[in-house]
Structure formats: structure tokens, C-alpha cells
């Protein structure tokens, strides 16, 4: 083997990942090659220093309380998703399609008309009264974290229940979620450029509510099916 070939094998040589057959000629070359010998020593030094790094580092004391808080929030969200009444069951698939289609249309409307006229759009997003939307970006940031966490829990719950939904419903649901996510992204980007714009905060809040609402209601139906 040539010097150039062997140089590419030095990493594996040092970490003991060469086969016995390959190891012998490499070792022989290293003995007579100052450059490769120095590189091997240097590699060993790097690995030795990596092995001396502390295996455990204490995290900040607040980490566990944050985790516990999130876990308790999870439990609260799940408590709010009751099993649907039995009369839903025969109609679950059809109801899911209708629900997804309805929310999708609303989200699509939000998305396609988003750009020039936020002020025109805002009054039409009447999922909840405007008074419930946070008035400032700081207050919204707190609410946004709750939305994200709630959406994440419901999404995971729904993922685990996908087998109970018809494939076309799942496809429609995914398309609707994509549309809402696009609307969220657009509103977030606009808000990054104009953080004081209350209409944008309201629009973003409405998109999050829409997403959580879609996930929650679909989850309720699958739980009852």
C-alpha cells in the first residue's frame, strides 16, 4: 500500500477498526514514516482528550420544574379531550371529512388572501372574540408556547390513532394542516418585520386556534370511533 492510501486508513487504525490483515501493513508503514507516525500520535491525543471529557454535567436546577410543568400541562390537555359519545361512531369518518374540509376552506381563505390586506381579513377571523387575543407581542409569546405545546400533544395523539381514520381523511387532514402551517409561517414572518402590529398578532393567534381546534376535534372523533 502507498503512503497516500495508508493516510486514509490512519483513523481506522487508531480506533482499532481495521481488520488484522489490513492492520499489519499499515503498522509497518507507520514505523518507517515520520509523517504518518506523527499523525497517529496526534489522533491518539485527540481520542484520549475526548475520553477524558466529563460524562455527566449537572443541568440548571430549573430544568426539571419546567419539564414537570409541561407534563402536567399535557395531562390537562388530554383531560380536555373527552371520548366522544357513542352516537358519533357510525358517522365518525364522514364527520371527520366534513370537519377537515370546513377548517381547510377557512384556512385556505386565510392563506390566499393574506398578503396585502390584513386589516380587511382580521374581522372575518371570528373563531373566538378578538378580546381573547393577546394585546402585545410579549403576552402573545406566552400564549404561542401554549399553542405549540398543545398542538404537539394533540398531533402525537392523533398520529397514534391514525389507523382509525380513512386514508382520504388523513390525506385531507395533512393538507389542511400544511395550509394552516403555511399561514402561521407567513404571519410569523410578517410579525418579525412588524412586531407591534396587533392585527398580525390576532391573525397568528387565530391560525394557532384553528390548528389546535382542527387537531382537537379530529382527535375527539377518533377517540370515540
Amino acid at each position: 500500500m502507498t503512503h497516500d492510501v495508508i493516510r486514509h486508513l490512519l483513523d481506522d487504525y487508531v480506533t482499532g477498526e481495521l481488520t488484522e490483515d489490513a492492520r499489519a501493513p499499515v503498522a509497518e508503514h507507520i514505523d518507517g514514516c515520520e509523517l504518518c507516525s506523527a499523525e497517529v500520535e496526534s489522533l491518539k491525543e485527540i481520542l484520549a482528550r475526548a475520553s477524558e471529557l466529563p460524562r455527566s454535567i449537572d443541568p440548571p436546577a430549573t430544568a426539571w420544574s419546567n419539564i414537570r410543568h409541561a407534563i402536567e400541562h399535557d395531562a390537562e390537555v388530554l383531560r380536555r379531550v373527552p371520548a366522544a359519545k357513542t352516537w358519533w361512531r357510525p358517522f365518525t369518518a364522514a364527520a371527520a371529512v366534513l370537519l377537515v374540509a370546513a377548517v381547510s376552506s377557512s384556512a385556505t381563505y386565510l392563506y390566499v388572501t393574506r398578503d396585502p390586506g390584513y386589516h380587511v381579513l382580521a374581522p372575518k377571523i371570528a373563531i373566538r372574540p378578538a378580546a381573547e387575543t393577546p394585546a402585545s407581542l410579549a403576552a402573545f409569546t406566552v400564549e404561542e408556547n401554549n399553542y405549540l405545546r398543545t398542538a404537539s400533544i394533540l398531533q402525537e395523539l392523533l398520529d397514534s390513532q391514525q389507523g382509525e381514520l380513512a386514508p382520504e381523511t388523513i390525506a385531507q387532514l395533512k393538507a389542511s394542516l400544511r395550509t394552516i402551517d403555511e399561514a402561521i409561517l407567513e404571519a410569523r414572518n410578517a410579525l418579525a418585520r412588524d412586531p407591534a402590529n396587533k392585527i398580525l398578532i390576532e391573525m397568528l393567534s387565530a391560525s394557532y386556534r384553528q390548528k389546535v381546534d382542527l387537531l382537537r376535534r379530529t382527535t375527539e372523533m377518533t377517540r370515540g370511533s
Binding site: D11, I46, A50, I57, I67, I71
Partner: protein, 193 residues
């Protein structure tokens, strides 16, 4: 030279001691016992945080956020842990997956929000541009490009095999080896300054 203790060498066998009593806490946590989950956290948080800190490149805020995400996800997914591998291995896989998913989300968001010429605000840019002339090992690892850093931390610090890392990062074994080679070369250069 002695290789670092290989977590993955015994990935399918519960590690002695560490997993013994802890497995009971895991089982109780799987049944919904939050206090038992706190015991699981107390047992694994130190190693998980060390991993998170190195994976994110040394930023303590990012590492704490990642650690919290990992344990929240662990709680939600506890029922998928069947005990086939050590709980620490399961948790570490979750940490890497969470990091990669968060990075994908952040990349999409950053790409849409930041102007293209404002690279100084991109994650890691400040750290990478301020390499000191003489740095310690942790700082040198933190200064590595992300791909090289992940490969080095998972292989040379945590002891995972090339194949495991390749599968988790969704790249080829050859790519992992190339990233490792690059990481070691860069570390040598930076530590010898």
C-alpha cells in the same frame, strides 16, 4: 490507547447498575407516575445534558431547552420503550432526533425570516467566528461545523458505532467516517494553535 467507554457496545444489554434500579422507575413512570419519572430524570439528566451541551455546540440555553424537550418527549413516548436496549441509549437517540427535528424547523423559520446577507445572526455564527488562539477541548468541539461535531460527539465521546450514527443521521457510513476525519483534523489544527 484506551477507547472511551462505548455506550453502544452494550446497547442491547441494560448497563450494569445504572439501569438496574432505574428500570423500576421507568416502569412506574410508564404507568403515569410523575414522581418516578423525576427519579428517571435525576438518574439520566447529567449524562443527557452533557450530550445536549456538546451536540448544540456549547450554548447552555440551547442545551437546557433541548434537554427539556428530550425529557418531555420521553414522557410522551415512554410507552414505546420496551426495554430492549438501555434506557440511556433510548434517551440519547431521542436527544439526537429532537436536535435534528428542531434544527429542521429552525432552518425553515430562519430561512424565511432573516435576510440572506445577515449571516451574523445565524445559529453558531458568533461562536464559529470567535475561535480563540488557545482553546480547550470543549471549546474546540463547539467550534466544529455541525456535521463534524455530531459525528465526533456521537462516535468519539459517546462511543456509538459508525452504522448507528449513519442510521440516526440518515447518511451513509462513508459520510460519517468523512465527517469524523474532518472533525479530528480540525480539532488537531485548533488545539495545536
Amino acid at each position: 490507547m484506551t477507547r472511551p467507554a462505548l455506550v453502544s457496545d452494550k446497547a442491547d444489554v441494560p448497563a450494569e447498575g445504572v439501569e438496574g434500579n432505574g428500570l423500576d422507575s421507568v416502569r412506574r413512570a410508564q404507568a403515569g407516575d410523575v414522581d418516578a419519572f423525576q427519579l428517571v430524570y435525576n438518574e439520566h439528566a447529567g449524562r443527557a445534558y452533557a450530550l445536549c451541551l456538546r451536540l448544540v455546540g456549547g450554548d447552555t440555553n440551547d442545551a437546557t431547552e433541548l434537554l427539556q424537550d428530550v425529557f418531555i418527549r420521553a414522557w410522551r413516548k415512554l410507552d414505546t420503550f420496551r426495554g430492549d436496549s438501555a434506557f440511556s441509549s433510548w434517551l440519547h437517540r431521542l436527544a439526537v432526533n429532537t436536535l435534528l427535528e428542531n434544527a429542521r424547523t429552525e432552518k425553515r423559520r430562519t430561512a424565511r425570516v432573516l435576510p440572506m446577507d445577515d449571516t451574523s445572526r445565524l445559529p453558531g455564527a458568533a461562536r464559529a467566528s470567535g475561535i480563540e488562539l488557545k482553546m480547550d477541548m470543549e471549546k474546540a468541539i463547539a467550534s466544529l461545523p455541525k456535521g463534524a461535531r455530531l459525528a465526533f460527539v456521537l462516535h468519539d465521546v459517546e462511543g456509538y458505532q459508525h452504522q448507528e450514527i449513519a442510521a440516526q443521521l440518515s447518511v451513509s457510513v462513508g459520510t460519517v467516517k468523512a465527517q469524523l476525519h474532518r472533525a479530528r483534523r480540525l480539532l488537531r489544527e485548533r488545539l495545536e494553535r
